[in-house]
Symmetry: C2
Subunit: 300 residues, 2 copies
């Protein structure tokens, strides 16, 4: 029977293997590890690589926390049960590359359990190119569809739409990037389904390194100008806006007294805000903006 400790162990091993793959492709940067403990139960392994040859800042975090179920996890105050216990484990990744032609990427997989029985999985991968390269976007979404199609309970079309809706910045009327897949509260009906969902989630996690490394490899040697680097910093500013204003994981972490430096590892090494910066029509910056909208079907 699949239990929570097995899931946490698999997530830790995934963190190990992803860090190794990223160090290999980077060729120079090394992850630094911080172990942290949560007073109320559990803790995590934060791993950050800064100043690599390819990656300016890469965070690959694992956490396993448990204890009394915090009040905010209840729908209503009436339902609060002081005896209730929760358990949550996950892997969370954000990578900010140096080269503006290499996209930012985010991946997260998580498992949650409350008391005896109630449990669910969540996660996703989404890509945030500073410059949208359609053939890379097609490749990216194609791989995500493949991993969904391999698993009977997964649904690419649904998760792709959820990513479009989730990674959206209303005050800019822009999506954060070209989306990907996003899923939450995947509740197994029985032990068999629990195994099926776990295998799916773990496959999403295992897809991450080869998928990103392929996209990195395609673009890492591309020359870039200081103007392109500046555009990257403007786009990173949008990433900050999304993460601090809208991202549920970030809000959840900050509001529940999580480890701030682990939560905010997602923020870029450097970001710019220039007043009312609008790229001229027909430029590659402007063309990239045209791809930052919901509902683009890259696989049609």
């Amino acid at each position: 029977m699949l239990n929570k400790e097995t899931i946490a162990t698999e997530f830790m091993m995934l963190q190990d293997s992803i860090c190794q793959s990223l160090e290999e492709i980077d060729g120079s940067g090394r992850f630094k590890e911080d172990l942290w403990q949560r007073e109320e139960g559990g803790g995590g392994r934060s791993r950050i690589l800064e100043g690599g040859k390819l990656f300016e800042k890469a965070g690959v975090n694992f956490s396993k926390v448990f204890g009394n179920t915090p009040a905010f996890l209840y729908d209503t105050k009436q339902n609060i049960n002081p005896e209730s216990q929760f358990f949550a484990t996950g892997v969370s990744i954000v990578i900010h590359p140096i080269n503006p032609w290499v996209p930012i990427i985010h991946m997260n997989i998580r498992y949650f359990e409350k008391d005896a029985g109630a449990c669910w999985f969540g996660g996703g991968i989404d890509l945030t190119p500073h410059y949208v390269i359609p053939k890379d976007a097609i490749y990216f979404h194609g791989e995500l569809r493949k991993v969904c199609n391999k698993h009977p309970l997964a649904d690419y079309v649904k998760y792709k739409k959820e990513a479009d809706d989730y990674f959206y910045i209303p005050h800019r009327n822009e999506t954060r990037g070209i989306g990907g897949i996003f899923f939450d509260h995947l509740i197994p009906a029985d032990q068999t389904e629990k195994n099926v969902l776990f295998n799916f989630v773990l496959d999403v996690g295992k897809l991450f390194a080869p998928l990103y490394i392929e996209i990195v490899s395609r673009n890492k040697d591309r020359l870039y100008t200081s103007e392109e680097k500046k555009w990257q910093r403007i786009r990173r500013g949008r990433y900050v806006e999304f993460n601090l204003v809208y991202d549920r994981g970030t809000k959840f972490g900050l509001e529940t007294n999580g480890r701030t430096e682990s939560i905010l590892m997602s923020l870029p090494p450097q970001a710019d805000w220039q007043y009312n910066f609008i790229p001229a029509t027909g430029t590659k910056e402007s063309e990239s903006l045209n791809f930052l909208k919901k509902g683009i079907d890259w696989l049609k």
Copy 2:
């Protein structure tokens, strides 16, 4: 009798005079103006100076908006009255200087009116030094106390505490800067009090330019290193965190479909996030951090 149009006109004139003073001290940068209109009624004058000799980015905004009272301005849904009208006008300033020894400053004054009669004033000034210089902090708070003491209904001690409480970043356990004064919902009991409160708020607005220019003048010619410039970008990152996660004005603006570029003019031209950056004990960076807490009485 003091009416809303008089208040708005005075606020506009204040914006003019502040922009003029800031251009004078900068000596090179010029404000660019954007006029904008709000579909539901009213609009504003956004003025931004970028790339000055002293100021990297300075925003001095005026707005006057009115129309049907939006639903979020009611305490409860039961009280919503579709006939109700509101009127709001204000001046809002954030300045990010080039020199890390010159502090960031923020000032805001505002007037709000609902239907016939109900009205209030709000506002404040707070200072965010990258490096806290005690004698400047004492001067700053001294001037704020003076302006409060000149006005019978103002209370420096109360407003200073409100600034400490408001400009606070819980997930960092740091105040944004050395505080200042903050006040909201100053409701006049009658026309006489309305005049008294307006004179106070306008005096706060008029204090802004000479107060900041004095602090700028004291520090603008100080030489700085690239390390100090880097520390400035780290502190600007905290400014971003406060404004995007906690600032009520920013949230209010973004949630109510305000003009995004005017709201986010407060964000710095450039900000850094370095993982777990903690200055060594005894450095001037570490000493500055020690001043970023609530309840420091600079005037004792």
